[in-house]
Amino acid sequence: MKNILRYSFFDLIRSRWTIIYGGFYLILTFALIWLSGDLLKVITSLMNITLMLVPLIALLFSSMYYYHSRDFVELLLAQPLKRTHIFIGQYWGIAISLSVSLIVGLGLPFLIFGVLGTSVLYHFFTLIGVNLMLTFIFVGLGFAGALRYENRIKGFGLGILIWLFFAVIYDGIVLLGLVVFRDYPLDHFALGASIFNPIDLSRILILLKLDISALMGYTGAVFQKFLGSTTGIIIAIAVLMLWVVFPIGRIRFLALRKDF
């Protein structure tokens, strides 16, 4: 598995798309810091962008990589390797190379502008950490989707659908529920709903640090008690981990049953 991971990683880290991806964040972050100068504000702006972009790119990039390396995978399958090692190895290769792009793209400008030792450091780490989790989650979902559908139109379609669902539709449904059932106590529903969508959970983890006044004011009672506590943070991270584990399990399952 390590071999496959290494080859996928080195293949990808040098690919045009990874470099464009990392470069985009690099330029964006530099530009934002340059324009506003307020690191906290930059983190807020970056949050809005990355929570949209990271899942989308992770989904599309992993499907693209699968289809692209489809022929080479046949050679790998003929080698004395476990199937699961090939695909899980590729998964880590994609996830880690995207993560490196992300860390370099977002991190370098902050380091240069001296995030270390400021009070923003914690927010910065939250932003990076959450986006890394999202990368691992959505690379997994995209890769599993591509593994499921040999037809790349279907694979990409599924990826975009997954993204639409988690980024937009899910929230629409939750909001509808909250408005329709507003006469009932919905604290726990809201909390539950936010935990099961990794994008929502990520956003709230960052917002708890940024827009804390608004969040604490309202559902604050529940959100702050839960996500403000160590237990809450551990549960949140555990849920995100589960979201990483689920697609990996799905990749294993599909890899063991698929004809190539």
Binding site: L175, D187, F189, D200, I212, A214
Partner: protein, 425 residues
């Protein structure tokens, strides 16, 4: 100014009556404060050396000047009130008054002023007093430079730091107050001034006043109080250059205004509050040149408000700038700076060419179902707000700032955030 005036009046009085000076210390002929008060004549001065005086229920029924050297500690031993002033022209300066002990039956206080006039309570430290300074039917007094620190844990068993009831013409300046139920409490207090106080970490309100008219509040800092500041059922008040900072919670306000008429709220600073200002049933209020920074809601207008003017304020990076529960009525927003304003100023006159609507659809939704706050800044909500902006359906008509400023107004005083290093909160 008034402080000096009082002092001058006192000095004139004393000189007329050939005032004597009494020394109180452990080895002195008067080792007890109450003995000395008993012995002294009106107009005399008592100088109290440092040390521990375990005396409660000291009643100052004569016009005396009491002066502490290096904070003599007057200890109520957790059983009783410590000092009660019942006479006019009393000064109490430089004491540490401690351990009053809480009671569910009576409002015990460190210093009580009862139906007295022309008193000065200055430069005292009140530690762990149930109520700190308690005024009833008092007039023409000065309470300044006192340090009042309580250890309130729950509202039911705690008192207020500076409590005024049916009083007039009182000046409260430069006090530092923490750890009580309410920092400063006014009920039926008229023509009084509250200046440069710091009221923080109180369980309920940093400032709480009701049925009090013609009062002024300037340059106070209210920080991290359980519910912020509440101003209710009053007329003709002025709040200027105050700071309302970090009041967080489901029912926490920088400033709660309820049933207020004819007030000026100018040059105040609201930062990091769940609600900057919550307004309910208020009329003829001028909000001018205030800055709202990083609040959950900068302003929430709940209903029954009319003839209010909101002019020249800064609304910067608040989660929501404004929420309106009711009809707009005849309230005017004009010439404010909104950091959310995303339009252009082609004629470069500093005023945006397109009116700004400060109410977002999502803030309306959150009013209906508060839990929806979990979707704050989600893509879906952004789309929702955007579509509302493009074709308004829910936005109440007439709620527009016709002249939104392109650049923020500069603030003409230092905020807590600016000089937090120099303030030892």
């Amino acid at each position: 100014m008034k402080a000096y005036l009082f002092t001058i009046i006192l000095i004139i009085n004393f000189s007329q009556s050939q005032a004597a000076n009494w020394q109180v210390c452990a080895e002195c002929s008067c080792s007890q404060l109450s003995e000395a008060i008993e012995a002294a004549s009106p107009g005399d001065t008592l100088t109290v050396d440092s040390g521990l005086y375990q005396e409660g229920r000291i009643i100052i029924g004569k016009s005396l000047v009491l002066r502490g050297n290096n904070y003599p500690r007057i200890d109520g031993k957790g059983e009783s009130e410590v000092i009660t002033i019942t006479a006019d022209h009393v000064s109490l300066v430089g004491f540490q008054i401690q351990n009053v002990g809480h009671s569910y039956l009576e409002d015990r206080a460190g210093i009580r002023v009862q139906k007295a006039k022309h008193f000065i309570i200055q430069n005292n430290r009140l530690i762990n007093t149930f109520f700190g300074i308690y005024l009833e039917h008092a007039q023409y007094g000065l309470i300044s430079h006192n340090f009042i620190e309580g250890q309130a844990i729950e509202e039911m068993s705690s008192g207020n730091a500076i409590h005024l009831w049916y009083s007039k013409h009182v000046e409260i300046t430069d006090n530092e107050i923490s750890g009580h139920r309410d920092g400063i409490y006014f009920e039926f207090v008229d023509n009084s001034q509250v200046r440069r106080n710091k009221s923080h970490h109180n369980l309920r309100y940093g400032l709480h006043f009701m049925f009090s008219n013609d009062d002024e509040y300037h340059q106070n800092i209210f920080r991290e109080n359980g519910a912020g500041v509440a101003v209710m059922f009053s007329k003709k008040i002025r709040l200027t250059e105050n700071q309302f900072i970090e009041n967080w919670g489901r029912a926490a306000y920088g400033l709660l205004l309820k049933e207020i008429y004819d007030a000026d709220i100018i040059d105040n600073h609201f930062e990091h509050n769940t609600l900057g200002i919550h307004v309910e049933g208020c009329s003829r209020i001028l909000y001018k040149a205030n800055t709202f920074l990083y609040n959950g809601w900068a302003m929430r207008v709940a209903g029954g408000c009319s003839k209010n003017e909101i002019k020249g304020n800064n609304f910067i990076d608040n989660t929501f700038d404004l929420s309106m529960n009711s009809q707009v009525g005849d309230n005017y927003f004009d010439g404010n700076y909104w950091s959310d304003y995303a339009s252009y100023d082609l004629d470069r006159d500093g005023i945006g060419d397109v009116p700004h609507n400060p109410v977002k659809l999502f803030s309306y939704v959150v009013n209906q179902s508060p839990e929806a706050i979990m979707l704050l800044r989600s893509t879906f909500v952004d789309l929702l707000n955007f579509s509302e902006k493009v074709s308004p359906v829910f936005s109440p008509p007439g709620l527009e700032d016709q002249q939104p400023h392109i650049k923020p107004f500069s603030q003409n005083f230092k905020t807590y955030a600016d000089d937090s290093a120099s303030q030892d909160f």
